[in-house]
């Protein structure tokens, strides 16, 4: 299978992925980095909260909620589906 880049928001739930980049300014990059989200990090997508709610991921054994529009700026590469 060829690896396909997508954004965290569109990644299916329960899938592990690697962060390939963050499409945003220095402010957003820094806020995300503070919670451990930066290029090369592996995350697991847990779910999208309904009605345009945030995306919930697992990173470094911590759950992090990321607003929908911010999650659209995080480019990820899905790793093998379970």
């Amino acid at each position: 299978m060829t690896s396909r880049h997508t954004v965290l928001k569109d990644l299916p739930c329960g899938i592990d992925a690697e962060i390939m980049g963050i499409d945003g300014g220095a402010g957003i990059q820094a806020r995300l980095r503070a919670l451990g989200l930066c290029e090369g990090k592996k995350v697991q997508k847990l779910c999208n909260v309904r009605m345009g709610g945030p995306v919930i991921i697992m990173i470094d054994r911590a759950q992090v909620a990321i607003g929908k529009r911010m999650a659209e700026k995080i480019i990820v590469r899905p790793l093998d589906a379970k």
Binding site: G27, A30, R31, L32, R33, A34, L35, G36, C38, E39, G40, L46, C47, N48, V49, R50, M51, G52, G53, P54, I56, D60, R61, A62, Q63, V64, A65, I66, G67, K68, R69, M70
Partner: protein, 603 residues
């Protein structure tokens, strides 16, 4: 480094929700409010630690993920770090890797520092083992595993504090290789351009941190616990939303159940113990006259009525102790459970899409919930929000549509015997107002809106001791800050009535009060008293002989009207005069409109 202004001998620095405040209380014996979510401490508190006959000043800095001055918490912390003699970097052992990012930024500040691995008991339960000696070698500073909650490891922490001299370089335990000395090799900064502008190459530092944590951490498998199960349910897209509703409804019912019973008990005690005393006083004073109307108030059908007499010694004590205090206890008991279990951030997640409609994101629900207790801490807690615009919207909405517990207790007392629907009407109107005003503010404040980005802390079983401390502090704050204001408000009513000042004001404002809001002209009095205390003001409303429509209209206007003096001063302090005045203008206009609408639509 030495000749700068000094903040303290010991500065506690760490990321949000790592338990700095619990450690601070343990060190200084000063009670602080602690919870299980990021941003409980929005300003810093200081205290004294006495160690071997020597006093050390200790400061608990607000939590910050990074020293990069992105928000106020980071800026405050950076200034404190600059002038501190020693730093204790408090670290969450269950999230070592992420916490070390801040540690490295602190190391670059070259201050005497030690690392406290807090929450070590929780890490152990989760099957996370940290090799303290290895970590010490990697970082080149003293490291000690503690649990501030249970007191584990505190003795070794104290002895290390004594061993770390102020202002000097730290005694270093032979770093494993020179590269791991506090001076981070990957930095491209010169000594002079520090103070927050340390240009670490983030990627290299991150790699180094990942290497260190994989070297010192080891994991043993743990069983799936009840809190894990709860975690799955509360973040599940379907069940989570349902659970949010169930939790809120249950919380509300629990607050009412405890509150009602405590009110009944307090009323019983007042009738049994205090009534005979004030009855004697009333008889002694002859049942009328200026002194009588100030101390005892007016007699209702020849009898003292604690709810309506409005004397300083009758209603002035009854309102704070028998009507309000019971609900303060029950509300904060339930809120503390929600705070300490870690439910509030989960609520923020589920409220996110709703809060976006009013120009905010989900985390704004936390100041709003605190505002339901008292608007003052609610407005202070808006500091957790990133931008001035968000703080303005949240604080304005709290001022308009979030009634505090003392006021709610009095509302329930005033409307309870009419059944549930008048109370539902008041709350329904306020919720509607909250949405409409928020929706309008969103378009008025056209700014970049930050998105929700929060860590969801693990569920924790609340510690009974922490719950008790927090409840005690909040009850004490109410008694200390509010009791005299309630009595002052009642004194003001008595004196101004007696002097006939109110008649003059009532005539002046009657066009608005009578024509627009459909209430007798006297209804301006509680609205003005509301500036001192809104609970006392509701009491005045119930003594005015209004019909139900007028009572509901009056209470909704009062809830929305000019904030009480305590909230107003915090509003000015937090938003600045210009924004506070904008906020007040919006408050007054919406209160007037809402009053008029209820008056015209209630057939």
């Amino acid at each position: 480094m030495q000749n700068k202004g000094q903040c303290c001998d010991i500065l506690l620095v760490g990321q949000p929700n790592v338990g700095k405040s619990v450690l601070f209380s343990k060190l200084t014996g000063i009670r602080t409010i602690t919870s299980n979510y990021a941003g409980t401490t929005v300003s810093y508190s200081s205290g004294i630690l006495n160690l071997g006959g020597q006093d050390y000043t200790v400061i608990d800095a607000p939590g910050t993920y990074s020293l990069e001055p992105l928000d106020d918490a980071a800026k405050v912390t950076l200034d404190l770090v600059d002038s501190a003699k020693r730093i204790i970097n408090v670290v969450d052992s269950t999230h070592l890797e992420r916490n070390l990012a801040l540690t490295f930024e602190l190391l670059a500040q070259k201050k005497p520092m030690l690392l406290a691995l807090n929450l070590s008991d929780e890490a152990r339960h989760k099957g996370i083992n940290i090799d303290v000696d290895k970590l010490k070698k990697h970082l080149g500073i003293p490291v000690v595993a503690v649990s501030a909650l249970t007191g584990e490891g505190m003795n070794s922490l104290l002895s290390i504090i004594q061993a770390v001299p102020a202002g000097a370089e730290i005694p270093v335990d032979e770093p494993s290789h020179p590269a791991h000395h506090p001076h981070i090799p990957d930095t491209k900064h010169s000594e002079e351009e520090h103070k927050g502008h340390i240009h670490l190459d983030p990627k290299n530092v991150w790699r180094k941190i990942a290497d260190i944590s994989s070297d010192v951490e080891s994991f043993t498998n743990k069983r799936h616990s009840f809190t894990d199960w709860l975690d799955d349910v509360s973040l599940n897209p379907v069940w989570g939303a349902l659970m949010a509703i169930v939790v809120l409804v249950l919380s509300f019912l629990l607050v009412r159940l405890i509150g009602e019973n405590l009110v009944a008990a307090a009323e019983y005690l007042f009738d049994l113990l205090w009534f005979p005393v004030v009855a004697k006083l009333s008889a002694f004073l002859g049942g009328h006259g200026f002194i009588h109307s100030v101390l005892v108030g007016s007699l209702i059908d020849g009898q003292i009525d604690f709810k309506q007499s409005f004397g300083v010694l009758t209603s002035g004590l009854f309102i704070p102790f028998a009507a309000v205090l019971p609900y303060i206890v029950s509300f904060y008991f339930v809120l503390s459970i929600l705070e300490d279990t870690g439910y509030l951030p989960r609520l923020a997640v589920f409220m996110d899409s709703i809060m976006h409609r009013v120009g905010l994101h989900g985390y704004a629900i936390i100041p709003t919930m605190l505002g339901l207790g008292c608007n003052v801490p609610g407005i202070l807690a808006t500091r957790v929000l990133e931008t001035k615009e968000q703080r303005f919207i949240t604080a304005t909405l709290i001022s308009i549509a979030v009634p505090c517990v003392p006021m709610q207790a009095m509302i329930i007392g005033a409307l309870g015997h009419y059944g549930v629907w008048p109370i539902a009407l008041v709350y329904g109107s306020l919720i509607l107002v909250w949405f409409i005003v928020g929706f309008l503010l969103k378009y008025y404040v056209k700014e970049y809106r930050p998105e929700l980005l929060i860590e969801i802390p693990p569920y924790r079983l609340p510690s009974l001791k922490a719950l008790g401390t927090k409840l005690y502090m909040r009850v004490w704050e109410f008694l200390k800050d509010a009791l005299w204001l309630v009595m002052l408000a009642i004194l003001a009513v008595d004196i101004l009535y007696y002097a006939g000042v109110f008649n003059y004001i009532a005539d002046l404002t009657s066009p608005v009060v009578t024509a627009l809001w459909g209430m007798p002209k006297d209804a301006i009095i509680p609205l003005l008293i509301g500036i001192l205390r809104k609970d006392a003001a509701v009491g005045v409303f119930s003594s005015l002989n209004l019909d139900l429509k007028q009572l509901v209209t009056g209470i909704v206007i009062l809830a929305m009207f000019f904030p009480c003096v305590a909230s107003f001063s915090v509003l000015v302090k937090e938003l600045g005069t210009k924004y506070a005045l904008k906020s007040i203008t919006i408050v007054l206009i919406s209160a007037s409109i809402a009053g008029a609408l209820i008056n015209f639509f209630w057939a």
